[in-house]
Symmetry: C2
Subunit: 330 residues, 2 copies
């Protein structure tokens, strides 16, 4: 099976109208829970399935579209209302096409607020909606203020405790960015780099040995900048190697160049890499050099000659099923 472990929801247009209303009204008054019609939802979801079929993806793990999470827009009720509504849409899509999708929850993170405010929605998504993982944004200020402490800090422990309790992984993904020097798509990458180093230099995996964390987009800058961090590791006489620490985390292939994916797979190894394309998303545009969309990554992975057939099976399917075990019972 080809599992795209990192994909984002495609919704009927009525949801965009709802979002505008929530933002414009600052979620005050509370608007009713928007429920797209069955027909509108089916049309949108079949459109998504067509895009999956075009590139041979059999299943997607669907989460909210990150840059539309509204984590910094005041008041907190905006993201609270919106996140709940999007999670509901995802749950209906999974129910509609249970062989094609699994649900990954968005969390109503809000600026500098402790992520404890997210636990109620996380519980609901796992227990009532059957979700198998969640997103986590390391900077819910969205570049509008100094961010909270790094993911290695106990600030985040309330979420980690709940993830371990449910045995579900978290996908580290920032949202949008207010600062004019950093587009949201670039912030994704920088936040991935910051997340890796903050986690690997912390006690998180001592305190939560069973925690499963996925860093998307090939790990930001880190696999490319390994020499720097290997050297730091030795300079401080730390035990083991930086490479071993790196493998405490999981990474995904949502990086649209073959040279980079080869480097990722060499550095991290095929046991810690999950297939992912984010399609439709940033990479859904034709590469004039290959005549294929940038996010058509299945043939790219298939063409990497140093991966064995078993390695490829792990990357396409095995690692995702192992990590997101809650989605594949029995």
């Amino acid at each position: 099976m080809i599992i795209d472990s990192h994909a984002h929801v495609v919704m009927p247009p009525s949801m965009m109208h709802y979002l505008v209303e929530v933002i414009a009204a600052h979620a005050n008054p509370t608007l009713g829970n928007p429920e797209p019609s069955e027909e509108a939802l089916r049309t949108a979801t079949e459109g998504l399935i067509k895009q999956m079929d075009e590139v041979g993806t059999e299943m997607q793990f669907l989460s909210p579209r990150p840059y539309m999470q509204m984590h910094s827009i005041k008041p907190a009720k905006v993201t609270a209302s919106w996140t709940r509504a999007v999670n509901n849409v995802i749950a209906r899509q999974v129910k509609m096409f249970p062989d094609r999708f699994r649900g990954v929850a968005g969390l109503p993170q809000f600026r500098e607020t402790s992520p404890e405010n997210c636990l109620e929605e996380l519980d609901r998504c796992v227990n009532e909606l059957g979700f198998i993982g969640c997103l986590l944004n390391p900077d819910p200020t969205e570049g509008d203020a100094l961010p909270p402490p790094g993911l290695g800090d106990p600030f985040w422990y309330p979420v980690y405790e709940r993830l371990v309790k449910y045995d579900i992984p978290v996908l580290v993904h920032s949202a949008s960015c207010c600062h004019p020097r950093e587009t949201y798509t670039l912030k994704f990458i920088n936040e991935n780099s910051i997340a890796v180093i903050s986690l690997l230099e912390s006690d998180v995996f001592k305190d939560f040995p069973k925690l499963k964390i996925v860093i998307p987009h090939g790990g930001g800058a880190i696999p490319y900048q390994m020499g720097r961090f290997r050297a730091w590791h030795h300079r401080r006489n730390m035990p083991g190697t930086f490479d071993d620490r790196l493998r405490q985390l999981y990474y995904d292939t949502c990086n649209y160049s073959k040279e980079a994916l080869e480097l990722l797979l060499k550095v991290v190894g095929p046991d810690n890499v999950l297939f992912a394309t984010e399609r439709p998303g940033t990479g859904s545009v034709r590469d004039p050099k290959t005549g294929k969309d940038y996010d058509d990554l299945k043939p790219v992975i298939e063409s990497i000659d140093f991966l064995s057939a078993e390695d490829k099976r792990k990357v396409f399917e095995g690692n995702a099923k192992k990590l997101y075990a809650r989605g594949f019972p029995g």
Copy 2:
């Protein structure tokens, strides 16, 4: 000639005492200009030359040690006093060993202040001290506040005008970092990534076609994340290719892994890459795998088999001499 285009000053211990005094007194009162004795300076500089000789470096371009630039410590006079003192030390080292060094100026940037405050020191360094380039820190708040606009913004034009007037390049290098989630060494990388995208999405090279900008550390995350930015380029129907834009900038090899340097040289091409090691610095520690220091990069570049002898000559020497032409008259 083997030119290390990105190296940082090594100073006699008295300079550290001076720095502590300046910080502790908040540069109030003004302390006299510290001038290490000729003997102490010679000892420190010969120690540095020994480290260069160990790895076959014939010349270094020396600039202030970035994380010690104190760009966010109040008041502005701290970095003003310190920057001037360090630039003076570098000038003396260049004069002492004119075949081994060239000077690259530090600028007394201060938090959100316009970099116009740096022009007087830049003029002094070029006109009186004979420096051939300067550093530029995209975030002089050092992670203590929201940073100034990106390097593509006219906020930075006063410096760019002066660089073009003198026909000298700038090396983009952040300083330290106050935010606990981001060490200074990681911030170097993230600031490099932000600088590349901010510059390439701006009018800077329309407004300053002769401006020469070097992004160290292999360009941060960008060469590894090329697919993402290539796709964005096409999604917005921009003219040309992102790869062409990338070559408006120069990059250096201060990245301590061979896989990464191969990727850099493939993506950017040997005309836009300068040899650099930052030795002694982060990479000055033994790699247990190779038995050599991480920053012993000359044999690494020499071993890259897709580079011709002429390519290697450009990387080791030719590109540096072309860019920093002021350092090699006649």
